[in-house]
Amino acid sequence: MKNKKYVTANDHKGLDYRSIAEIMTASGDKMNHSTVRNIITRGFSKIVKGMSEDYDLKYSDEKIKEIAQSPEFQDSIIQIMKGK
């Protein structure tokens, strides 16, 4: 993860934004690739916000978004979701 700006789908054998958008649209949630990206960021931001409240930390929305998009943070969450 060193010197990396983004966690990519290939790092975790996942799907790209467009494929996800197609799957979601097929299952009834119409969306495009940008929406998929925004939903992912929003999801991670929710976790950051929840955790900052647990630790009594007051982060600005910008800071929360920055943490949510950081590859280190995303990777840790993914590992936990994978049950590792």
Partner: protein, 251 residues
């Protein structure tokens, strides 16, 4: 003084130096199988063994062992000496004693065995380099050393390479070395219970906050990062045809 050292001293005291005629007679008898004459010749020359061993004694070499090994050289000299050639025994023996002592030092001095002749040449190169540095005020090139010693450049090159001192990877005095304890660091959770506790607390907090994700968000994150979906939750995570195809291609 060690036991071996004192034994040698006693033997030396009771065996004064031999005259050339005595040496000749004893050598002749020893050659014809007289074991007493052989022993006398050996014991009378222990002085030479001690003198040579002292000269070759180094910090990392045990002196008693060096004496023993040098004595083996003396025995070889006694067995091979030909009195009829007219040489003095000590002249002949000192080369065998030196050879035995050097061979022992060579075997003990380093972890890597380098042939004695190579080590000798290396010592010669080192001495000449020092001398040439003093004379010319700069380090001599391989060509200059080669011309000075009279050996090919290639030989000088591999002799220097072969005799480079080895440095222990685990040597704590060596700043470049990584100690084995660092390499085999215990990274298990048992090595630091406090850190482990903090980690578990953090994981439980993250898991709690994961519940903040809506079904749609969780599903998209799972798809994006290849996180297996909950197979029992077929309502929130139905397997689509695209996903099936993707998973089949993955296999």
């Amino acid at each position: 003084m060690t036991l071996l050292n004192s034994t040698f001293s006693e033997i030396i005291k009771s065996n004064p130096l031999l005259t050339k005629q005595q040496e000749f007679d004893l050598s002749k008898k020893a050659k014809n199988g007289d074991m007493i004459a052989r022993q006398k010749l050996v014991e009378s020359n222990y002085r030479l063994v001690i003198s040579i061993a002292k000269k070759y004694h180094r910090k990392n070499v045990d002196f008693d062992d060096l004496l023993q090994e040098s004595s083996m050289g003396l025995l070889k000299a006694v067995d091979r000496f030909d009195p009829d050639l007219g040489h003095k025994f000590s002249t002949y023996a000192c080369w065998w004693i030196k050879q035995a002592a050097l061979q022992y030092i060579n075997e003990q001095g380093s972890d890597i065995k380098v042939p004695t002749h190579s080590r000798m040449l290396y010592a010669k190169i080192k001495n000449r380099v020092k001398e040439l540095e003093k004379i010319n005020g700069k380090t001599p090139s391989l060509k200059e050393i080669s011309d000075d010693i009279g050996e090919p450049v290639k030989k000088i090159k591999y002799t220097i390479k072969a005799n480079k001192p080895s440095v222990s990877y685990d040597n704590e005095n060596n700043s470049d070395a990584i100690s084995m304890k660092d390499k085999l660091a215990d990274n298990s959770y048992l090595s630091n219970p406090h850190d482990n506790l903090e980690r578990l607390e953090l994981i439980s907090l993250i898991k709690k906050n994961l519940k903040l994700l809506s079904v749609k968000e969780e599903k998209i994150i799972r798809l994006r990062f290849g996180i297996e979906e909950d197979k029992n939750d077929t309502i929130n995570f139905p397997i689509t045809n695209d996903m099936k195809e993707y998973l089949l291609n993955e296999k």
